[in-house]
């Protein structure tokens, strides 16, 4: 019998090495890439998909998936923007956006936990429903032109760093504490590892399941607010395709689709690697057609590499 340690712990250093390697390579090729300014840019760009990826990590840890995140970004941005337009005072209109995200997340959660719909189907339905809702209420046209106060989350800064980075960091901290320090985190992993064993062990499986979808919805709503603030426009098409970036980051970060295993730190590094790649290729002016190919190859190569290294570390 071969004894093995949980592999996820050994993946983090490998992931980190890949990230540092790519950054170093790009920096060597284009010194501007590693200017502080650009590193801040990259963090800010990571924050959007990153926030969603954090919520997605929780969902995937329970063995689920949330395809509706991009649509929830649009709906919650519109809810916030609509409230701001209707004259709702400034912090409350943010509340409207967060409530919209949490509510639709809750619908996802109840569908999965209570009606026992497969997460893929439930959130695919929500993806279409929420996107359709966004188009219906706006007639397809974006809401634009907001007060600086509403936009603050997207364009403001604190201690030299843009607010989106603080929001990303803050949400990471909250979710990390929930997952790593609270008993709740253990239950999330138990549900993902084996829902039957978790139920039999007294874990409130439906409750925990619903909660992760709510948190994922809240993450989407935060992104909606950041995005609307940054581009001064709440668009019904906002967030299209975000689910792919988020899921790719999560899986790249070592969280297993089969549930129960994975880490938030891995997800953050995974998302950073993806953003660094995109940003680097923009800076090096790589042909847009080739861009996709390069991205695919790098991801595949990295996965193979860290698969190998993981095995080597495990012995």
């Amino acid at each position: 019998m071969i004894m093995r340690r949980t592999p996820s712990s050994s993946r983090l250093p490998v992931l980190l090495a890949i990230l540092v390697g790519i950054v170093a390579l790009l920096g060597w090729h284009e010194p501007r890439f590693i200017e502080i300014n650009n590193l801040i840019n990259i963090l800010r760009q990571s924050s959007m998909v990153g926030l969603i990826a954090l919520g997605m990590t929780l969902v995937i840890l329970t063995g689920g998936i949330d395809l509706s995140v991009g649509s929830l970004v649009a709906v919650s941005a519109l809810a916030g923007a609509g409230a701001a337009r209707a004259g709702v005072t400034f912090p409350l209109c943010w509340g409207a956006a967060l409530a919209a995200g949490a509510l639709l997340g809750m619908v996802n959660g109840l569908g999965v936990a209570r009606l026992r719909l497969p997460p893929f189907i439930m959130t695919l339905g929500m993806m279409g429903f929420a996107r359709g809702l966004a188009f219906m209420v706006t007639g397809g046209k974006p809401l634009t032109g907001f007060d600086a106060s509403f936009r603050w989350l997207g364009i403001g800064g604190w201690m030299g760093l843009p607010l989106p980075i603080w929001v990303f960091g803050g949400f990471f901290l909250v979710v990390w504490v929930l997952l790593e320090l609270m008993p709740w985190g253990d239950q999330v992993r138990s549900v993902g590892s084996s829902p039957r064993a978790a139920w039999g062990s007294g874990v409130n499986v439906p409750g925990v399941t619903a909660q992760v979808y709510v948190l994922c919805g809240v993450a989407s709503a935060l992104v909606g607010l950041l995005l609307a603030g940054r581009i001064d426009s709440a668009q019904p098409t906002a967030g299209v395709g975000y689910e792919f970036g988020a899921i790719a980051g999560v899986v790249f970060g070592g969280t297993s689709f089969s549930g129960g295993r994975g880490s938030l730190v891995g997800t953050v590094i995974g998302v950073l690697i993806m953003t660094v790649l995109e940003s680097g290729m923009n800076m090096l002016n790589v042909n847009p057609f080739a861009e996709q190919v390069v991205k695919g190859v790098v991801i595949a190569a990295a996965l193979v590499l860290y698969g190998r290294t993981g095995q080597a570390l495990r012995g």
């Binding site: 071969i2 004894m3 949980t6 084996s194 295993r261």
Partner: protein, 500 residues
Amino acid sequence: MSALLEMRNVHKRYPGVHALKGISFSLEEGEFHALVGENGAGKSTLIKTLGGVVPPDEGGEILVRGERVAWSGPGDALRAGVGIIHQELSLAPHLSVAQNIFLGRELRRGVFVDSRRMREMAKDLLAHLRCDIDPDRTAGELSTGEQQLVEIAKALSQKVSILALDEPTSSLSARETENLFRVIDDLKSRGVGIIYISHRLEEIFAHADRVTVLRDGEVTGRGAIGDFDPSSMVACMVGRRVEVLFPRSFRDPGEVLLEVRGISRRGVLRDVSFELREGEIVGVAGLVGSGRTETARCLVGLDPVDGGEVNLVGGALALRGPRETLDRGMVLVPEDRKRQGLFLNRSIRDNATVMELLHGLRRGPFVDREKRDEAARRHVRNFSVKCRDIFDPVFALSGGNQQKVAIAKGLAVAPRVLILDEPTRGVDVGARAEIHEIMNDLVHRGMGILMISSDLPEVLGMSDRVLVFRHGGIAASFDRGDATGEKVMLAAAGGGVHGG
């Protein structure tokens, strides 16, 4: 005349483990050769090298009818007439029974798959095993016992001359086991050589012609079955003499802990009533599907009941779910530990403390990691779980150690009533004795244990009382002095005996 099978000086090294250290083994035509040893002794690895699942290291030889063979996969072995039934069942859960039996060698009519003929042949094969599983049923919906029979039918359909069975009876009921041995006798009479791995010594003494004992990858004993007695065989297996008797010391039971009154579940259970007292082990016997496991599931709220009531330490249970039962002091360690009892990809620590963490091991709102690790270490120590450390994933443990973790997980919340479903299935002799000792110790401290088991000696040796289930109800109940293997088997199989 050369032997049917001859293995000489077979070695197998895995990274860090020398699993087979120069094993020699032989099998004659029509011989029933038992292979025994504790888990991890190398039995399964030996069978896997024989079946072409893993290649043996250089230097050794495998000869079938005197010819040297080197197989590149299980397919080669099968074509040469070597069939293996592995411990881990390998049916495709979404395919039908017939499709599974003919998987990879579907019968054809022209270019089309001949489903009708496959179905008929499958039915014949199964009938040969005296089992009436509908060949159209999906493999996934069969019970473990039924799946095992389908696996055996699958091997038999290939006209094998050597058949190796790795713990085939661990999930079969008494009747199914009996059928299996009848089939094995039949095969023997046709000259098929049988290699048989089992932890159940009584089966081996009843059926084997010859025995090979393995320990730590080496042969530690070999001979005709008559050369052994149970104690000497176990001594060869564990390297020391172990008491094979059950370590039960009985005392007078105390107050009633669990009172089950007339619980029913349509099509599954009808009117099940019994009591469990402090300091008592109630054994539950019966065939697979007789309502034993189903009763346990209803008691802890995993399945709903249609009627009846359950009182636990005085108060009625609402049967809302396992959390209620757990809070009230009753815990089930389920039969299918890999799917229902444990979180295989999580660590020993995470598994052993998952229930305890619902109430305790906290500092304020946070998990107290130190307390948690300490608790896990304590469980590992108390149950002598053999592992490198508490952060090893449980899938890396042997069956016996997994079972100890599953029991430790439930005991961590200090229940008054413990329900154990097949506590020693797939568990090696040493671990089995340890689990029995733990049970004895628990009832001495006032716990009540409901023990469901297909292992008759275990039921008879460990229980204060025995309940026998048949067709969803209690068919008979025996006190310790009254219960004999015959009576219990008859009651389970419907022999018309009604005990007191």
